[in-house]
Chain length 156, copies 2
DNA sequence: CCTTTGACTTGAAGTACTTGAAGTTCCTAG
DNA sequence: CTAGGAACTTCAAGTACTTCAAGTCAAAGG
């Protein structure tokens, strides 16, 4: 299937192409538009199909990054509209991002803990498979110690 | 806050501890119980609070592994109620956990990357607020480079 | 003893998509 | 030109959690 572009200036993309380029499914692109995370995309004159240009793609790339950091749709909407405002919104942008940073730091901690726990469990089952009951008990204790350590550290 | 375990044999965990160890939020643990992905968890005599033991934790670990591989709740329920979960050999459990460990290593990487990205954006908006256009442009470039990395690793 | 603080409980509502149905429109091949 | 299939459209419903509200329970301080 060879696709021919009719536009002379700038590129035009179908929703499928935009999805492939941003890494977001087409359904999500439509969803983001309906909830206002991105502005309305222009439509084909006769077809009513969405036509994405480079600018739309840029904005979508940006939103894809925010989504990847775990930002909520409401915050993304705020963030995008603030971004278009420029300097006066900088303070708010910084606040939004600082909150996001804190969340990510917490997330990193949680992942590290889980990682340690899973490694311990792997060792445990190796010991079980080997019939090493001394080591089995030892590792079981370590897991309990890890659990004890986590009491009080896992606020949220 | 000193936590005293009343059980003489085996460990008892609160929902918060179970959540931290399995990596699933407490709300998800409750949800999994209500929809039958895991069996009913025993409750504190007077409190009615959920009390997780080692066996519950193990079962939850497997379910967490299955969920991480993208298995639907319906399939997980089928899998568990068919009793295939309890019968699993140590070898298979080790394999599942090893895969989980790999995923966690990846997850840690992704979180670190997102963290860097957000910090960069914070710097960016600080530069914007300060009117430092040279630094603004520099950081914008850096963010774009990181964004490319981020969207590349976020595929699934 | 009483109050406060914090973790827990349930159930209902909200969130962020995803999927499915039913109906155009585009494109290629006959 | 016309038929057929792929890709698009909207809207409604489904999914997998998540958050909120209202209330219970337990330990610590006054």
């Amino acid at each position: 299937m060879v696709r021919v572009r009719t536009r002379t200036a700038g590129q035009a993309y179908t929703i499928r192409e935009a999805a492939a380029l941003t890494g977001l499914p087409a359904s999500t692109l439509r969803y983001y538009e309906t909830v206002g995370v991105i502005g309305p995309v222009s439509r084909g004159e006769t077809s009513g199909h969405r036509v994405y240009d480079e600018e739309d793609l840029d904005q979508l790339m940006w939103v894809a990054c925010l989504a990847a950091t775990g930002m909520s749709v409401a915050d993304m909407r705020t963030y995008v509209t603030n971004g278009q405002l420029g300097v006066q919104a900088a303070q708010e942008q910084i606040q939004l991002l600082t909150e996001q940073e804190r969340r990510l730091a917490l997330e990193a901690e949680r992942v590290a803990l889980r990682h340690r726990y899973v490694r311990l469990k792997i060792d445990y089952w190796h010991a079980v498979a080997a019939g090493d009951s001394a080591r089995t008990q030892q590792l079981s204790k370590q897991a309990a110690a890890l659990a004890a350590e986590l009491t009080g550290t896992t606020q949220q």
